[in-house]
């Protein structure tokens, strides 16, 4: 099912007298392709959860249209939308067993959709098998681990074969190891069921690793939409560049002069076609190349060994980050102490207007 949001805006009335309305989502315009897994990404308070609630119908947009396929569902109450939703705290009914929890949405079906007892049982079994929970059907939610509860919640959302599956911060309540495992699980289930899935997260790594497409939001406004690699390799503005990637991107106060990028007075990179003036230069950690003749001179702080890679920790006076962490292959040898020099990979360097923070493109 293709999902379309057309200029969707959601405002909440401000608190107190004369307070201005708060715009949680501003002019969201996007079509989610059928059968894809889309990650809605942004810092907390950026409007991503509001977007999710608009999609499932718990909230109504102030303006704009939401369509599932060709149907306009904007005014349709949540009860009739036929979406599956996994809540952040799972919202499993504590007094019902796993089986009863999964069966719950099926028992709501009326009229021509009404299912017989054996049909329900079969659907529950299928859903449980999909999330590998067959053994636990007669337990209560309180007897399950966090990861198992998460899978029950997914099974409950999928059992009614929803048109769209929505997941709100699905991994935030799990510990680090389980998080890795569960996100693979979500990917697998989504591939298998081919249901259009939207999940909300504030963790960029999580979103990048499993999404077909990601939507980066900030203050209710969509910043960029695209395949994860595409967004990573070509951020449209400084916010997106900073928000994606670990370790985070490094920012330098620089200047463009004669088609060259100057950092601390040294010309470090040719940037043809960029207008003269001050810029913010952003360099991915993997964009540094160890080079004794390199133009970028930094003061070495130390080296952190990570096995496959090493990270060179150093400083540069024009860098806005407290330290620079350059990730280079472990095959390199780093000089002990003093100054370390780098060349830069042009594809890993982005220039942004110092005022508008928009990307300034150049031919790499």
């Amino acid at each position: 099912m293709k999902v379309t949001l057309q200029h969707v805006t959601k405002q909440f009335p401000g608190r107190g007298k004369g307070a201005r309305a708060v715009t949680a989502v501003n002019d969201f315009d996007f079509t989610l392709p059928d059968g894809k897994l889309v990650g809605l990404l942004g810092p907390s308070g950026c409007g991503k959860s509001t977007t999710l609630n608009l999609l499932c119908g718990l909230l109504k947009p102030t303006s704009g249209k939401i369509c599932f396929g060709d149907e306009d569902v904007t005014q349709l109450p949540a009860e009739h939308r036929g979406v599956g939703m996994v809540f952040q705290n799972y919202a499993l009914y504590p007094h019902l067993t796993v089986r009863q929890n999964i069966r719950f949405p099926l028992e709501n079906l009326r009229g021509k959709d009404k299912l017989s007892k054996p049909e329900m049982e079969q659907r529950v079994r299928d859903a449980a098998a999909l999330v590998q929970l067959e053994e636990l059907l007669d337990r209560k939610p309180s007897e399950l681990s966090g990861g198992q509860q998460q899978r029950v919640a997914i099974a409950r959302a999928l059992v009614k074969t929803p048109r769209v599956l929505l997941l709100d911060e699905p991994l935030s309540n799990l510990d680090a190891r389980l998080r890795l495992q569960t996100r693979e699980e979500i990917r697998r289930i989504q591939r298998k069921t081919q249901v259009t899935t939207i999940f909300v997260t504030h963790d960029q790594e999580e979103a990048m690793s499993i999404s077909d497409e990601i939507v980066v939001m900030k203050d209710g406004v969509v910043q960029q939409i695209g395949r994860p690699q595409e967004v990573y390799d070509s951020p449209v503005n400084l916010f997106v560049a900073k928000f994606l990637g670990t370790p985070p991107i490094h920012l330098f106060r620089g200047e463009v002069h004669n088609g060259r990028l100057l950092l601390g007075g040294a010309a470090v990179l040719a940037v043809p076609g960029v207008p003269e003036g001050p810029v913010t230069a952003a360099v991915r950690p993997e964009g540094f190349v160890l080079d004794e003749q390199g133009p970028l001179a930094c003061t070495l702080n130390g080296v952190e060994v990570m096995g496959r890679d090493i990270s060179v920790v150093c400083r540069h006076p024009d860098c806005e980050n407290t330290v620079i962490r350059a990730i280079i292959s472990a095959e390199n040898t780093v000089p002990a102490g003093g100054t370390v020099r780098f060349a830069l990979k042009p594809r890993k360097v982005f220039l942004f207007d110092a005022d508008t923070e928009r990307r300034i493109p150049f031919e790499a």
């Binding site: 149907e71 306009d72 569902v73 005014q75 349709l76 109450p77 009860e79 009739h80």
Partner: protein, 287 residues
């Protein structure tokens, strides 16, 4: 499916549900309020007017305060009132002292057999008042304490439940505060007075309010232990007025008396509405 129709139907159903809800709530509000209205209304109707109404009137155009004058002069209502205030204040005060000391011992002090004593103590909560009232009646009668405040107050002083409630509240205060006070050379009593009680004020307020309501409305014990009008509390007083009140059946004056004894608690309630409701939710039982 026609979504617009679906949507409209849902909205209509919502409106109907809402209207029914408000109607139901309003009806019960009326049921609760009406007796209060009726008692105030009747209390300002004149004796003659009330008795000549074969069909009761829902309002009156000639209100009078004569009934209130009668209530205070024909029967010793002022005395019942004063007795109840004295009884309530003394009982509540004594209860607070006893409760605070015991709760402090259970929460803060270490002594041998504390756990056992506390368990036994808690099991006392299960003893119903109706069982022990018989012996208490005999005890007080034999001690010659009938028709005295001492006899009225003594058996009403302790409440296992309030001690338990306060102990729980004390126990939540971090131990460090106690040790800090000890290091500074503060005595236990001073620590109790200056640190523990201020911190646990909400619980103290709760049990005070509950006890005051309980005292103001107590009927059974005072009825057993007093037969001298000079020691009647308001509940017994009102019953006395009902049985052989004003020499003749004077319902308006009776209602005036009812208004007078109801007003203090209602005013108290309206003043401390939030606190009282929270307190009852935590520790109330009536019902």
């Amino acid at each position: 499916m026609d979504y617009e129709k679906l949507e409209k139907r849902a909205a209509a159903r919502k409106r109907v549900t809402r209207a029914v809800t408000y109607a139901l709530l309003a009806v019960w509000a009326l049921v609760v309020l009406f007796p209060f209205y009726w008692m105030v209304l009747t209390s300002v109707k004149s004796y003659g007017a009330y008795n000549s109404e074969y069909i009761p009137q829902l309002f009156t155009l000639s209100p009078t305060l004569q009934n209130y004058r009668d209530a205070f002069t024909a029967v010793p209502l002022a005395r019942y009132f004063a007795n109840t205030v004295v009884f309530t204040l003394l009982t509540t005060g004594l209860m607070l002292v006893v409760t605070v000391l015991a709760a402090f011992a259970f929460a803060r002090l270490e002594f041998r057999g504390k756990d056992l004593v506390f368990t036994l103590f808690l099991s006392l909560m299960m003893i119903p008042n109706e069982l022990v009232v018989i012996t208490n009646f005999v005890t007080i009668t034999n001690a010659g304490l009938r028709n005295t405040f001492v006899g009225l107050i003594l058996p009403s002083v302790t409440s296992v439940f309030y001690i338990y409630l306060l102990r729980e509240s004390f126990a939540q205060v971090p131990n460090e505060l106690y040790y800090a006070a000890k290091v500074d050379g503060t005595s236990d009593l001073r620590y109790l007075w200056r640190v523990l009680l201020p911190i646990c004020r909400p619980t103290l307020v709760t049990i005070t309010i509950l006890k005051v309501i309980e005292c103001w409305n107590s009927y059974v014990w005072p009825r057993l232990i007093t037969d001298d009008q000079n020691y009647f509390l308001v509940s017994n007083g009102i019953q006395e007025i009902r049985e052989n009140g004003f020499g003749r059946e004077n319902i308006p004056a009776m209602m005036a008396a009812v208004v007078v004894i109801s007003v203090p608690l209602i005013v108290l309630f309206l003043l401390f509405r939030k606190k009282i409701m929270a307190g009852v939710a935590r520790g109330g039982t009536k019902g």
